[in-house]
Symmetry: D2
Subunit: 363 residues, 4 copies
């Protein structure tokens, strides 16, 4: 249960890390969108491991195949099935992970909930699951791109190292996706040190969505920021979400935190953006700005104390080469999950005014 | 749209601040739960304004009436309609709020999205909407209480003033619901100062859920923490959510952040709780601990610059007596929304194992 | 559970026959629709009992109150709470119905499923529950009416007596809502006879929806006719649903049953309507025509053999004055449930084409 | 949109007739169910064309592959992805079907709704789509089978030829899946005649579900029979649904139609089954019996008059070898869709009583 996301633009994902493959089905994608495998592949390539020493060096190809819903280069309005076959079904030795509950992982909770678990490579709880979201989110990104909306995520901080400036072009020039070269270099040194000592680091991803029409999101439960928060916390290892001033809003006064309105070219716009682009759960026309905190990679080679599934205390040192940080690979996941939320809200928002419904049907 | 929350235990709320009333319908509440209006009223009374100088001094009574779903003191499994009639429909002067977009409020976004707005007292975007959630959440709290699960929220910080110690009994002994008398006194002084200068403060609510069975929540989109995040960000004025180490997890190393497992009375338990009680989206048996940041009350009497709905720049000083802080009244909202999420996940979790399904039907 | 209907235009109903009242909350109604209590009351009045000797002669007033979602005569896009308070909470003697399982009623199944039951007047399984649907459906009818769509239901047959001709004006001129005066008279004689012998009759309601745009409904699970079927079978006592040729389609050949297409004023239209207005789950531009079969009223005064809740065989003669036929009062329920389905599909259909989404947002 | 079915046991299907393949994702299947590809293949083989002269003689193999959710022969509680690759992507000449609206098909409605259509072999509206449902339904059938529930569908009538007796063993001994050898032979002669004259026939499928626990289904919108009706009408070419007495209930009197209760081995059971196993929307312990009417195959070689997508009137004779009847291949679709509904209701029903929830968690 719980593998379907969205209300109109609905994404179902499936697949385990070391099973036959992973995939997503997108139901509710509008017809008439130009869509190719390349549109999706370019997003997948951004979360591909092995791109740097900071990510798992195995050679996943993650080649996506569109199996349905696209005809002669255009979506048809029917479900779009996206599939990534696992190329290599490694015959690794999983005996340890099959038996011992790794700290910081879902091994224990999965076993207790379901009584059975595909332990190979983390199974359904592997970070690999996010590839299916990225594939589906690439479709959403294409939709919202057609309306001029852009979503851009990047690494804001790693450990205590936070970006100082913001150089858009730098993001894709360092393996950490940080928009600040100096910070990236500092963070790389920090990560090198942690890796060599069998440790790992956490970090924060920031995401900015531009050109969002005013009014996306609903005023009560399905607030835009509420659904963004759900989307973000649904990414493995995410531990916090904040929009606009976020946690810091708690320390401000009303005078500091309120955004005034002014006229700009005849339109009403906010004069500041403490709100992060959402007022009362609805987009307010400013950039949507939010941050997601990711915990350090739980798989570390340092010895940790734990328990096995037979109720014996054990020590474990998680073998294999693991990313010393999740954040760089999470950047594109944040970006595509945000695109899914925005696409869904765009569709929902078309149905809320009687005058526009009449215009639509009286064409 | 967007006024229904939950998958099995589903809550629909309705109502505007100064309309005829507000209410909630709970669909999916199990039959055979003892439930009285008093069970609900005691939660509503906790968010009642006028309890202190820090909350709006009008005399709302917020008397709830159960209209359906309860028979001879027990729920019947049919929808429970809860209603709170607005006693006084004040003939206040709303001309200003009807015309001018208050900074930090949903006036502008509501107008743009729907083209029409019940501006009286904030309408649907008023904090008063949360009374309906509290009523529904009181039902959820009763359910989970039957299983020994407790949810307790309190004010963790106001502005820069954070609790130092934790005195459970103190929570209900100060109007700010802080579990630390000294901090509460300091915060009161801070709020007095802000109010007198036409300003307001934000703060953080912390919530602790105890005795949650292992395994609530699903491993992908419907993670327990993801749905808690959505629930919390759906509360007006919430700007951030964090679970366990939260945003701070980004600054820790894997060694510091991972929780080991140990045996305790033969059962597997975590030896620390950096995770905040959730691993891989499923409850891990530790206390669930999360925090929600609330922005300062946007209604302040200080003069602010804004625009009216006719496209003229204007100054506004929000009249009326407003809480200088939202947090104390949000405490019970956080608590009851958390109860709704837990109740829903409890029900969902009953259906995930074939052996238990067979036991259930082979009784 | 199971008291919410629809995907975008979502209706939640609540209430028991002899509780404090019944009601509905409509979430997802577009803003800017003119709506008054009178708009709803006129539908409710059509299912009011006591209008003729063929319906229960107690004086329910069923006065609806709009509690939210309407401001200055227009919907605001927020949930519309509709409430009908039960005027008289009769202190009838329910000892028999509380103990004995009435044949043809839900007493037995309700008890077994929930273990508790509000037995007064049938509780949640009473026909009175449909008043809440009618209230919500009146809102839907207003929406679709703005687009020129009309829904008209009437009694097609009672027992073996089927309408011969079709006189639209006659429908409201006989208490059976039959569009054929002669058939209505014959049916009345039949019903008189049955009532006097402690028996009851079934019948068929037919519904015609005109001016539906082509393309409502989805091609797979959420077909227009599939959702109409669900809506109709969800009405108590409904036992069959058929669209177009319906059950009779099974006896036709392809040549007889296929509808050709022709040009009419330059537009493509069907030359016949065996399909009943739906092709491949989507409206095809012809009238939508379907029929619903209702079983005879199960409450009859004739002695029937049954069992009580304590496991004793018993005889029962259902006391009180009951309609000898459900059909006339079901006519407006069929009509309003159909309106709900059409309204929901109208909204869903706005989001399925990229070119129209772009037009919408590039206004 | 509209390609997801179910509330807890949720099935998403995808795929077009002549695309790369079709498939289904089952979310919400409980963990610990033994499941193999063979379990599914045996259901798929029953709808395989080419089994007789009455079904399309092309050699589809329809080999299903389980891509996820099963580990070491057991379901893990994660989504089960089922895939059937299309083996042959025939380079047929679709120019006619691409341009001309076939009577009785979704060509016209699909074009109007989406503006684009994968016309090859009917695309998403092809009967081939049902293979994905059958695959998913086979999983449901396995679940309910574990509880002793059986679902059995068969052909009840073809044209005017209805079964007389009922010989269970005969069902799989004739290509029409009729439980009456004489009727089957008569029907075959009728079909031979129709085929040779370029025509086709309709028919009725009947389905019997045994050993269903009392209480499945909800009393209002999500009635068991309402969801069965939706499931059945969602199958292409279905035009009518009836449960128990069905449409005939309209002609009966209360005395004839009501089912009394009696004691049998100490348990309360119905003494007849006019209701078809459902009372007030909940299963009543008797066999669930329903019928679905299917229209004649719309693809016939006889010349029909229609319009093309450019607005020209045209004649069409649908080429290719088409089944002269849909019914025999629909039998297994009815059966598996019914299994999906029952499985979903079984899971839902576990959450409705507080005492059982307490038992469940206090194990």
């Amino acid at each position: 249960m719980g593998s379907i996301f969205g209300r109109i633009f609905r994404v179902t994902t499936w697949g385990e890390s070391h099973g036959k493959g992973i995939g997503a089905v997108v139901d509710g994608c509008p017809a008439g969108l130009e869509l190719t495998e390349e549109d999706i592949q370019k997003y997948l390539d951004r979360r591909k491991p092995g791109q740097s020493v900071y990510s798992t060096p195995r050679s996943e190809s993650d080649a996506v195949e569109i199996l349905s819903g696209v005809f002669e280069g255009q979506t048809t309005g029917t479900p779009i099935a996206l599939e990534i076959r696992n190329k290599t079904q490694r015959s690794a030795d999983y005996s340890e992970i099959a038996e011992i509950y790794r700290p910081g992982h879902a091994d224990f909770t999965f076993d207790r909930k379901y009584g059975i678990r595909d332990y190979r490579g983390g199974g359904r709880s592997s970070g690999r699951e996010t590839a299916a979201r990225v594939a589906a989110g690439a479709v959403a990104a294409k939709i919202i791109g057609r309306l001029g909306i852009t979503v851009k995520a990047y690494t804001r901080s790693i450990g205590d190292i936070c970006i100082g400036g913001f150089d858009k072009d730098e993001i894709f020039h360092n393996p950490l996706y940080m928009p600040d070269k100096a910070a990236a270099e500092k963070a790389q040194a920090y990560l090198d040190e942690l890796r060599s000592s069998g440790n790992s680091a956490g970090g924060v991803v920031e995401c900015v969505i531009k050109n969002v029409p005013v009014g996306l999101g609903d005023p009560v439960f399905d607030k835009l920021d509420a659904d963004l928060a759900k989307a973000m916390l649904s990414i493995g290892a995410a531990k916090g979400f904040e929009i606009g001033e976020g946690m810091n809003a708690a320390r401000l006064t009303g005078l500091d935190n309120n955004d005034g309105f002014v006229l700009k070219d005849g339109d009403t716009v906010k004069s500041s953006n403490h709100s992060g682009g959402v007022l009362g759960g609805m987009s307010d026309g400013s950039d949507i700005v939010f941050r997601v905190a990711f915990k350090p990679t739980p798989s570390i080679s340092s010895v940790q104390h734990t328990v096995d599934r037979h109720g014996n205390e054990r020590d474990i040192s998680v073998k294999g080469r693991h990313d010393p940080i999740i954040v760089p690979r999470a950047v594109v996941v944040v970006e595509t999950m945000a695109a899914i939320v925005i696409a869904d809200k765009l569709l929902e928002n078309m149905t809320v005014r009687m005058d526009r419904i009449e215009q639509f049907y009286r064409r």
